[in-house]
């Protein structure tokens, strides 16, 4: 019995299983999803002087509301419209969820614990994230619904505006550190020489584009509820809707982890008691930083109205694109100075 347990634990804590399954993979993704959507509703309610979810586990302020919602999604009937492209319609949300969650394989948990180490892990994780808008477009097309199509096309237009500056601002940091290996990038930031202090311009641009690419307010344009029902996800119900809706939060989670690795020093500084526990424990520092970044993102919902699509695209090309070019130049300048 004990042998079995040890074997299972050993298997679970092997990097190639731990990373996709526990952290930053599936289990932590679900915990974050349940927590952050609850917090989003709670914060929006608090800003409007309301309570928000309360009566599901009242002692903790309705903390398991999202578990109840998840159960509802699981048991609701996923309806496939007659006119929809059936295969694409059903596969779309699964593809979307998978594409949003896939980049976690390239993200290291700590300096000595990763699924695979690559010289270009930053590029791999950001590159895999660019699959997400493609899945959104597919969903918009497959639903055979005008709102879905408009929503999908809006996402398509927006992705043109945010992908390039996002990659540029991340690559400016890669130029600054002289590597695209996320482990080395974090090692370069030891002793509080965080990326955000070395190149605040890149940090600001990256953060702004994080929120833009994951439909946070004020860029919640693809799903604009008051204009086009639910955008690409209009025709979805049941767990398929749950997957599609969760995907943008997971993308935000992955981008927040990348942000904290690039700009907030990753697992540096790690408290000594954590590093003594094991090679996995420093990942907790990154996790806390990433959740803090997500909290900023969800707070925006209660402050901002929504930009029009042309305003958002103008912000993408006229403001963040020059900013990302400037951040590359700033990086080069910082390198040149020393």
């Amino acid at each position: 019995m004990m042998e079995w347990l040890e074997k299972i634990l050993e298997l679970l804590f092997s990097p190639w299983l731990f990373v996709p399954l526990v952290y930053p993979g599936l289990i932590s993704v679900f915990i974050v999803l349940l927590f952050i959507i609850w917090l989003e509703r709670k914060v929006a309610a608090k800003v409007q002087l309301r309570y928000g979810p309360l009566y599901v586990l009242k002692q903790l302020g309705g903390a398991i509301q999202l578990v109840a919602d998840l159960l509802r999604y699981l048991f609701a009937e996923p309806i496939v419209p007659e006119e929809a492209d059936r295969v694409a319609f059903v596969m779309g949300p699964i593809l979307l969820f998978a594409a949003a969650y896939l980049p976690c394989v390239a993200i290291p948990v700590s300096g000595s614990f990763y699924a695979f180490r690559s010289d270009i892990s930053l590029l791999v994780s950001l590159g895999l994230l660019t699959l997400v808008p493609a899945a959104t477009l597919l969903i918009g097309w497959a639903s055979n619904n005008k709102f879905s199509l408009i929503g999908g096309l809006r996402e398509g237009y927006l992705s043109m505006a945010y992908e390039i500056p996002l990659l540029l601002s991340a690559l400016s940091m890669a130029a600054l550190y002289g590597t695209m290996d996320l482990v080395k990038i974090v090692e370069h930031q030891s002793g509080f020489s965080w990326g955000i202090l070395r190149n605040p311009l890149a940090a600001f641009t990256f953060l702004l584009l994080c929120f833009m690419s994951t439909s946070r307010f004020p860029f919640e344009i693809a799903e604009a509820e008051s204009e086009i029902v639910m955008g690409p996800y209009t025709e979805y119900s049941g767990i398929l809707y749950g997957l599609a809706m969760g995907a943008s939060y997971i993308k935000l989670y992955i981008l927040s982890i990348i942000f904290s690795l690039l700009f907030l020093g990753g697992w540096e500084p790690c408290p000594p008691f954590l590093s003594r526990i094991g090679p996995v424990a420093p990942g907790l520092v990154v996790f806390v930083k990433a959740v803090a970044i997500m909290c900023v993102g969800i707070f925006l919902r209660s402050v901002y109205p929504r930009y029009r699509i042309d305003q958002a695209i103008r912000i993408g090309w006229h403001i963040t694109f020059p900013l990302s070019i400037a951040s590359v130049l700033l990086s080069l300048g910082v390198m040149w100075v020393g």
């Binding site: 608090k46 800003v47 002087l49 309301r50 309570y51 309360l54 402050v303 901002y304 403001i319």
Partner: protein, 163 residues
């Protein structure tokens, strides 16, 4: 559209976020209904009570009712004549209070009951006998805290507990 300078729009964003943070820390103003109830002001137009002893069967209430909620029902035969008495349909009532105002003897009066739910559509239609018994009162599992609204110069409305 006049373009704002980047500096002034950045200041605008910071101020918007500061306003959001300010309200994030401000106390809530929800009245959590089944646990807390509001003390209603005088003259509140709630469900209507009916005093049959004062009623002179004039039928003014049924005539003035704009929603057709009030209706006259024939009563028992007394000395070869039938008097008519009002009954009310709460599915139609809009709580305008015209019937209370028009009643020449004050047989109809408002109560403070406003939070009553009916199990069926039929239960909302009350004959004169049911109408006379008065509106049904909601039952609370625990006695609710009573709150009264107070005007506040900074916050607008505040709720204070009443004992």
């Amino acid at each position: 559209m006049a373009r704002r300078s980047p500096i002034s729009s950045l200041v605008g964003h910071v101020r918007a976020l500061a306003t959001g943070l300010k309200y994030l820390l401000a106390p809530r103003m929800t009245v959590r209904y089944p646990e807390e109830v509001l003390v209603l002001p005088e003259g509140y137009r709630g469900m209507i009570s009916y005093n049959k002893k004062l009623c002179i069967s004039c039928g003014m209430c049924a005539r003035i009712c704009p929603a057709d909620a009030m209706k006259m029902y024939p009563g028992p035969e007394e000395g070869g004549r039938r008097k008519m008495y009002p009954g009310i349909n709460y599915a139609r009532c809009i709580f305008c209070g015209f019937c209370v105002d028009v009643c020449p003897t004050g047989a109809l009066e408002h109560t403070d009951v406003h939070d009553m739910a009916f199990e069926s559509f039929e239960a909302q239609i009350m004959t004169p006998e049911e109408f006379e018994r008065g509106p049904p009162r909601p039952e609370f599992r625990r006695p609710p805290r009573r709150l009264k609204p107070v005007m506040d110069e900074r916050r607008g409305i505040r709720y204070e507990p009443v004992d």
